[in-house]
């Protein structure tokens, strides 16, 4: 992971240097980096394992190209960047790029001053992603989207800096309930994390309704969190199946049995060829006309 990040950052630096070189040499600043980066990335993709260089080249080339286009500062530019992330994410099967595209879509709505709609979109996308995860359990794109899009939606809404609204609290509490239900029922981790995130956002939003000083609210929240954690630990203490808090260790006897089975199944002598006795039975297949 750290190696991938180092590869990504260094490659981005190289792409920036390439753009600067194109500017100094008078070459097209959009097309030249785009073609060079994409061709190099495709060569690397065909040659071997992904490292992070390909991802940086793909997105770096596309962003360099977008920056070279004539622009007038309209918010629709965000959608162009989102499209670039969708394209790169689709080609590289990169869940992070897909998530960035979703966040950029929410940011576009916020930039158009549709902040409540942006928040609603973030929550709905998060729930849809969690629901999709019930079908494709190990997909990191939907897991990331389920966790990040409610946060993006709330940040987009909160940039208004308005006082707390009961509707927002209810929305995030409902989203948390749905996410937690999906997580517990289908035993998937990402909706559980998304549920916790939604609970935290609802707790942040509800603070204006509590007529207590900030310190008292923080102490109350901390105590509530500790009590919840203790209750969950207590409930799951001796559980060995379903949702557990400690990784299960195989029993000693179970390990011995497993070892014995492994040893027994290992052939010590070459197996003798089976002797065929013709005329031993008249079995017609699938038990249709069996005669022993």
């Amino acid at each position: 992971m750290i190696a991938d990040i180092i590869f990504f950052v260094l490659t981005w630096f190289a792409v920036l240097a390439l753009v600067a070189l194109c500017r100094l040499l008078g070459l097209p600043q959009g097309w030249t980096p785009l073609i060079l980066c994409l061709v190099t990335a495709e060569i690397l993709l065909r040659r071997g394992r992904k490292t992070g260089v390909e991802a940086a080249l793909w997105i770096g080339g596309l962003i360099a190209f977008i920056f070279s286009l004539p622009h007038n500062g309209r918010p629709e530019a965000i959608l162009v960047f989102a499209a670039a992330f969708v394209l790169a994410g689709w080609r590289l099967r990169n869940s992070l790029f897909g998530t960035v595209a979703v966040v950029l879509g929410i940011a576009y709505l916020a930039q158009k001053h549709w902040r409540f709609e942006a928040m609603l979109m973030g929550v709905v996308i998060g729930i849809i992603a969690a629901l999709v995860m019930t079908a494709v359990k190990r997909d990191s794109l939907f897991a990331l989207v389920a966790i990040v899009s409610p946060i993006a939606g709330y940040v987009a809404y909160h940039s208004l800096r308005e006082p707390s609204r009961a509707g927002v609290v209810i929305l995030f509490a409902a989203a948390a309930a749905i996410d937690l239900a999906i997580g517990v029922y289908c035993r998937i981790r990402a909706p559980l994390i998304a549920g916790a995130v939604c609970v935290a956002i609802a707790a942040i939003e509800v603070q204006d309704f509590i007529a207590l000083p900030l310190e008292a609210r923080l102490i109350l929240a901390g105590a509530l969190m500790l009590a919840t954690a203790a209750a969950i630990m207590r409930a799951l203490r001796h559980r060995t199946t379903g949702i557990v808090v400690t990784p299960s260790k195989p029993h000693e006897l179970q390990q011995i049995v497993q070892l014995a089975v492994t040893l027994q199944s290992t052939p010590t002598q070459p197996a003798e060829p089976a002797s065929l006795e013709p005329g031993g039975g008249g079995f017609g297949g699938a038990g249709a006309s069996g005669q022993y």
């Binding site: 630096f13 190289a14 394992r49």
Partner: protein
């Protein structure tokens, strides 16, 4: 940066980077090799940038040295994860 100590600072950084690379290969710890490459790259680039004044040469130098380090890192990565 002090003009008189740039060379010494870069030399120390390069020596330490080389030590990190050596230790990384010896202990089979890939990240130490990467740290060595990156800090070595920064030291060499800083040294060169201090002495080169042409804009085109600076950009070319940054591009070539970064690509060289990326290639070295990819080769190292494949060596550690065959």
């Amino acid at each position: 940066m002090n003009r008189h100590t740039v060379g010494a600072g870069a030399a120390i950084a390069i020596v330490l980077a080389a030590a990190a690379i050596f230790y990384g290969f010896r202990a089979r710890r890939e990240l130490f090799v990467f740290y060595g490459y990156v800090y070595g790259l920064i030291a060499i680039d800083a040294l060169m940038l201090w002495n080169v004044h042409d804009e085109l040469a600076i950009v070319l130098l940054l591009l070539v040295s970064t690509i060289a380090v990326i290639v070295a890192m990819v080769i190292t990565h494949r060596r550690f994860h065959p």
